[in-house]
Symmetry: D2
Subunit: 140 residues, 4 copies
């Protein structure tokens, strides 16, 4: 279960000075086995033709899954690291926000696997991604 | 073969007001079947613990492959769109730059597949990615 | 919608003399946007240590998605071809059957994307896969 | 380095009664950081239209990478398990053999990543795959 000490506010603080905030990402909801964030579609996240950059979707997906894993482990003992990500880009997005939700598919002792779905303002699926996270004992 | 009208300069101009430049990416070399760019490891591209964000590697990989495909097709007739990306994160990076090189593995009429390797300042592989790009007739 | 002319029986006939039947796979259910099959865990599908071969899960996933796509298109006009597959192996299986269900995530004109989940006898997820299928006009 | 006790003969013996031999796969060469096998394109490995089944390519890729990892670790202490596989199918194959070569991209203590390329009789690339293998202490 996600560590109850984590809140949307504390997670947004954690990422206040790096890529997440630099591209406008914000956590919006956290639950027992899921984590949500939104991301703007603007000059910070688009490719040269004004569409959402596929890589931006990956940043959202990888952030959600790896921060999700961080919330699941005992951080005094373990660190987490993204091992593999894959994503299918299904639709384009031109403006507004996109919304990502990561759901834990498999929470093993050594590996977590997350399903991440990203939808547009109309709720249509624009990207589906899967992230594999390794859970590593600290100091090992 | 990559359209000779494209140069490192024109590609950097193309991306001057969007995600690529926002996170500091720069094209550095273009060849017959490859394209290279570098990306800084700083607050624009790191995760909360100061390491290169895996999603940043995906932005670099997806940029290289999809811009590479753009350079291969007759743009009056075709547009290109990233369909699927996958990436393994092999090592972390903390500072300096990382260097991406995309090489065309398969240049079909409808699909391109790119291999993208990202290395650190010491030339060690930190990420390997593969991007599938669809080539679509304009107006279809 | 899946072409109603396809039935579990006709699909099992279609694959009667090739890899699917050779490894014991059988279609079990077909619906509006899904397709199911089962596969035995025995010498036909295991690796040297007696566990289900990860590649066997890929055969099941790729069969379900590509046959699913076949059922969706007008076969007089289109053929379908698997473009990219990915899979996470989550649990091992030693005996009995495993059960695969493919659900269409995205049914575009040129590309289909399928989510395929494989479960064991207890209903636990052992593999999750995603397949990208290209829909190609015949004779093009 | 691959354990010198492994030979093409011993590896073919290891897989004599399971999926590998059932579909006709044979190891052909083993080297310091690579492993090769061939696979027939016939009723054991084709889909209903007589082409090589994409899943068969995955079986070849996953076999090569996971057996490769097995040859790298001290088997008294560690076991290896395929975690994630992905593959792009680039060309079809109708007859003869296809040839797979797995090359170790990353040989970490806990994770191995393999690049697997499959070519046809003319040496053309028909499939490219990447396999992530977890190295697990026995008894843990």
């Amino acid at each position: 279960m996600i560590n109850p000490k984590y809140t949307v506010e504390s997670l947004n603080q954690l990422g206040a000075n790096n890529m997440g905030s630099h591209i406008g990402m914000e956590f919006t909801e956290i639950g027992e086995d899921f984590l949500c964030a939104k991301m703007p579609v603007d000059h910070r996240t688009t490719q040269p033709f004004g569409l959402l950059h596929g890589g931006a979707s990956c940043v959202l997906a990888e952030t959600l899954g790896s921060v999700g894993s961080l919330c699941y482990v005992d951080e005094e003992k373990y660190s987490v690291v993204g091992v593999e990500i894959n994503a299918n880009h299904l639709r384009s997005a031109k403006s507004g926000f996109v919304y990502g939700k990561a759901t834990l598919l498999h929470g093993g002792k050594k590996l977590h696997v997350w399903d991440i779905k990203i939808t547009n303002e109309e709720g249509k699926l624009i990207c589906i991604s899967r992230l594999t996270v390794a859970v590593l004992p600290k100091g090992a």
